[in-house]
């Protein structure tokens, strides 16, 4: 069955839909978690510490977190590899363009590929910045996420990278959520409006929720 799914365009698209929805679910939780930064150093750092102790005493320290990380890496890789393979196939299936060109499809639809690439690069930068601290601007200290976040958004490029990526994310989810429903066969004539509205609301909420943090630092609400 795995072979059938991976070898078919419809199956590979299913992999994209499922991995996309897994990432989406994570992002909703991640966004809500981020907002705790507005309640002060104590609460935010405590929340970050709690993430490492989830599931104790059944799970050992950081086990749950690592489990989530593994699932996310699998999702990102599966999503990106499918996207790459399907896109290559699509381009090969339509080698010669029409002489008479027309603007087609919505902005969100047309930007899925480049938006996806931006998101992929952002994910790498984001992990190196705030998880490992490799490219962090200030003196990175694990266990002090509040200060680390403030440092990142005190640089102009930290803000630019983040804002561009979050706009890309909003557009990606706008087309992606609705697409995933079609790919998984959950769409229908009667449900179409509800799905599109949900996609728009999710995209808007996630973008605003994530963007609130750098804006908070820039305006001095978080410092």
């Amino acid at each position: 069955m795995a072979r059938t799914v991976w070898d078919s365009t419809v199956g590979k698209k299913t992999v994209m839909a499922v991995s996309g929805l897994v990432m989406l679910l994570y992002l909703v939780a991640h966004m809500i978690g981020n907002l705790k930064i507005f309640f002060g150093t104590e609460e935010f750092n405590h929340y970050a510490h709690w993430l490492r102790t989830v599931g104790e005493p059944f799970m050992h320290y950081e086990w749950t977190l690592w489990l989530i990380r593994v699932v996310l890496v699998v999702a990102v890789v599966a999503h990106a590899v499918s996207a790459y393979q399907l896109s290559r196939r699509d381009i090969r299936a339509r080698p010669s363009k029409y002489v008479h060109k027309k603007r087609r499809a919505s902005y969100a639809t047309r930007t899925m590929r480049w938006g996806g690439v931006i998101l992929g690069l952002f994910i790498v930068w984001h992990v190196l910045d705030l998880t490992t601290g490799t490219v962090h601007s200030g003196g990175f200290e694990s266990g002090k996420p509040y200060q680390n976040v403030v440092d990142t958004f005190s640089t102009w490029y930290g803000n630019v990278i983040y804002l561009v990526a979050m706009l890309a994310l909003g557009l990606h989810i706008r087309h992606g959520f609705w697409s995933a429903a079609q790919t998984l066969g959950a769409g229908s004539r009667t449900r179409d409006r509800a799905l599109k509205t949900t996609a728009n609301i999710l995209a808007l909420l996630l973008t605003i929720g994530f963007v609130a943090v750098p804006v908070g630092v820039m305006t001095g609400v978080v410092s």
């Binding site: 299936a93 029409y98 229908s188």
Partner: protein, 249 residues
């Protein structure tokens, strides 16, 4: 009407093609688009030039043979087939670009004619039902619920023209294939082959080198028969169901 036509000319499948410009005069608003091309071809023949090759057959919008991309739209500006498009949709003095369907699975044979036999092979893979032939069966012998009959009829309208592929930015044949799958899979007559049909037809579609679906929706906008985008969702659902069932066996 006097028109300037820019037409894709290509001697053969392997030859390089290019847009050629022609002027036509004396075109009536009541002519169909194909009659307008007939006028051009008559002039070309009188001048001793090679007439423009294009596909057509019924000229009444039911066979699916006609296939032109007109000003970047498959079948032109109206939601109908090229043969049912009339010159009143254009204005005197217009320049009209005419190109063939573009997809690697639909290679150009000559000028505006493309080879659509990939569609035939998709049909051969499962776009039929297995039933004893002979006299037509009694219509009431197999009751079909009204909503199912309506859905089947809606999808049976597909004439296999390929405009969906021509319009798709990925050269995907999802709308065509989904029309066939939905048409037969919803009917009791199609039930025995419900799973193999969708798996085999999608498999053939991929083997022919069509692209994948990115739900851009261009196919449904171009389709002269109004096959809706949600048909693709329906086929995805059937495909997932069939894949799960095949795994259980």
């Amino acid at each position: 009407m006097k028109l300037t036509l820019r037409v894709w000319r290509q001697q053969s499948a392997d030859a390089e093609g290019a847009m050629s410009t022609y002027e036509v005069d004396g075109i009536s608003q009541d002519m169909s688009f194909l009659e307008m091309l007939d006028t051009l071809n008559e002039e070309l023949i009188l001048k001793g030039e090679d007439p423009v090759a294009f596909d057509h057959d019924c000229r009444e919008g039911i066979c699916g043979a006609c296939s032109l991309v007109i000003n970047g739209d498959a079948h032109g500006p109206e939601r109908t087939t090229t043969c049912q498009l009339h010159m009143r949709s254009f204005r005197d003095g217009d320049t009209i670009d005419i190109e063939p369907w573009r997809a690697s699975a639909f290679p150009v044979v000559k000028d505006l004619v493309v080879d659509r036999s990939a569609f035939d092979r998709i049909i051969e893979a499962g776009g039929y039902i297995t039933a004893p032939t002979g006299a037509a069966p009694e219509a009431h012998a197999t009751p079909v619920p009204k909503p199912d009959a309506d859905l089947a009829f809606e999808h049976a309208e597909c004439i296999g023209c390929g405009a969906c592929v021509a319009a798709c930015p990925n050269g995907a044949a999802m709308l065509f294939t989904s029309a066939k799958v939905n048409h037969l899979n919803v009917l009791p007559q199609g039930a025995p082959e419900r799973e193999t049909r969708v798996l085999d037809m999608v498999g053939q579609m991929d083997a022919e080198g069509f692209g994948g679906c990115t739900l851009a929706g261009e196919c449904a906008t171009a389709c002269p028969k109004g096959i809706p985008l949600v048909s693709i969702t329906g086929m995805n659902k059937e495909w997932l169901r069939a894949t799960r069932r095949a795994a259980k066996r």
